[in-house]
């Protein structure tokens, strides 16, 4: 996200809602809206060097002249002109001569506008990067997956200032809302049963918990599970990815198609387990079934004194050198009881320190410091999935 900052100039209510929506759907941010060009030039004077896309409505010759002024004032900055072509077809050519890189005829059509945006993004090397998706999945039920996902997402948002969305994929009786003591108006089920969902709708459904931190909880008042198509969930993850730098997905331990597809679609997988036979076996089976994922195993509520279950032994057993642990700290349960992230309840918690270490493994320092979250390319993901190497 944040690939494009958009300035809207002279756009009226006929097109503004569509423009705002499509900007969001293309990972772009509407930075400012101006009624006309003179006010835009005044308003933008203080930030002349920022990379921006201008979208200007041009309906008359005076506005064409203003467009020309804009292109000269911001040399090298892309401009999309919205023209009333049905009134005067020559406006299309005139707008291009005045400096527009792309011309979109009105009335507004989503596909056409999207094509213009995509074209500019490619030409200017601003193609959407998308968010990094981290799936946090349980190896068995009840091993604290939601707690890890919640506190990991909160740490990323609040200590690293990374815009983060936490999405709970539980399809019934989700616990995320109660873990934060909130009652969000919308849940994933509101979006998953709507065929026309886009990033704009996802954005409207998010509940903001703190700066940089929003959630999309699972249905927390519903007992009956809905039938969800995994592809709809993957599309939802993709759309959320256009609205944040990191999407943390809390994947319930169902071992069904949705479980495996969600893990396969993520850029990183955190597999939460605990020191119990069933849970370790679950982690082992996931690691073996999906070796290409290279899941990072986290032993939650870790007790270093439990014979036969030491981190070293589990690292060897699960063939996971990166296995980490989260301390068995009563503060975690207390924070849940108070409906707060661990940092707000017990900032010095040993479990929180462990989650901080996990965060650093998932998002290395250089990525965090420059604000750019590296995401595998399509080729990386394909070669990863089919285990062939790009190196000759």
């Amino acid at each position: 996200m944040y690939c494009l900052n958009i300035i809207l100039i002279g756009c009226d209510e006929r097109v503004l809602p569509d423009l705002r929506r499509e900007a969001l759907n293309h990972s772009a941010t509407v930075e400012a809206e101006f009624a006309d060009l003179p006010s835009a030039l005044n308003g933008l004077e203080s930030h002349p060097d920022q990379t921006r896309l201008f979208i200007v409505h041009v309906g008359s010759d005076p506005e064409l002249a203003q467009l020309k002024r804009l292109s000269r004032a911001f040399v090298g900055r892309p401009i999309i002109a919205l023209v009333d072509a049905d009134k005067d077809a020559s406006m299309v050519v005139k707008a291009m001569r005045a400096g527009a890189l792309q011309v979109v005829p009105l009335p507004f059509q989503r596909a056409d506008f999207g094509a213009a945006l995509d074209c500019i993004a490619v030409q200017f090397g601003l193609a959407p990067g998308g968010a990094k998706t981290i799936a946090v999945a349980g190896a068995t039920g009840g091993c604290g997956t939601t707690t890890i996902a919640l506190n990991l997402a909160y740490e990323l948002a609040c200590t690293q200032q990374v815009k983060c969305i936490l999405m709970e994929l539980s399809m019934r009786m989700g616990v995320l809302a109660s873990h934060l003591d909130v009652q969000p108006r919308y849940t994933t089920s509101d979006l998953l049963f709507d065929d026309k969902v886009d990033s704009y709708a996802v954005n409207q459904a998010l509940s903001t918990i703190a700066e940089n931190f929003s959630i999309l909880p699972g249905p927390y008042q519903s007992i009956e599970p809905g039938i969800i198509k995994p592809d709809a969930v993957l599309a939802l993850m993709e759309m959320a990815g256009r609205l944040a730098q990191i999407v943390v997905v809390d994947v319930p331990c169902t071992f069904d198609d949705l479980y495996f597809k969600s893990l396969s679609a993520a850029d990183s997988v955190v597999l939460v387990t605990q020191q119990k036979v069933s849970s370790i076996r679950g982690a082992q089976m996931v690691c073996e079934a999906l070796p290409d994922l290279q899941a990072l195993v986290v032993v939650n509520r870790y007790d270093p004194k439990l014979h036969g279950f030491s981190a070293d032994r589990l690292r060897t057993l699960l063939r996971c050198p990166g296995l980490t642990t989260v301390a068995n700290d009563p503060a975690v349960g207390a924070a849940v009881d108070h409906g707060r992230p661990l940092r707000l309840h017990a900032a010095r918690s040993s479990a929180l320190a462990d989650i901080g270490k996990l965060m650093k493994v998932l998002i290395p320092e250089e990525m965090r410091s420059n604000g750019h979250i590296e995401r595998p390319t399509l080729f990386d993901r394909l070669s990863h999935a089919f285990s062939f190497s790009a190196k000759v």
């Binding site: 119990k276 996931v286 014979h307």
Partner: protein
């Protein structure tokens, strides 16, 4: 869905009857239980096929529960195997993990609900993993073609 075919490896007649009683759930899920007493019988029966789940006593008079588990795992790495023992300890649990047990239940505290939950978890996991393995194999084959 058909009944779940359970192979119960246990040399104690009373324990066999107890597990059979726990698995007798006419209102819920149907289990068909085959009881064997030794490691050798267990491996032979399993090799013949038609086993969806194994309940295995850790301490067998004839043979060794751990060794039996290792042999079963060589034949099928995914089939759920739930180990039970009269004497539960972390050391035994650690050995069982290494040999590939799906769960480890203490006979002292075993009841119908604990057993049912353990079976349900292990079966769902095994079915999911098998389906995923099949799907991945298909994808790989398609990619090669």
């Amino acid at each position: 869905m058909g009944p779940t075919r359970v192979l119960h490896v246990e040399d104690d007649r009373i324990q066999r009857a107890l597990i059979a009683h726990f698995l007798d759930m006419p209102e819920e899920h149907k289990y068909v239980v085959t009881g064997v007493e030794s490691e050798e019988q267990a491996v032979d029966t399993f090799r013949r096929g038609g086993v969806d789940l194994v309940i295995l006593d850790y301490q067998l008079a004839q043979g060794d529960g751990l060794n039996c588990l290792r042999q079963l795992r060589k034949l099928d790495p995914i089939v759920p195997v739930i180990a039970v023992s009269g004497m539960a300890s972390p050391a035994i649990a650690a050995d069982l993990i290494e040999a590939g047990a799906d769960d480890y239940l203490n006979k002292q505290s075993l009841d119908k609900h604990i057993l049912a939950e353990s079976i349900e978890t292990a079966m769902a996991r095994a079915q999911g993993v098998r389906a995923n393995v099949r799907a991945t194999a298909l994808l790989r084959r398609l990619a090669r073609e």
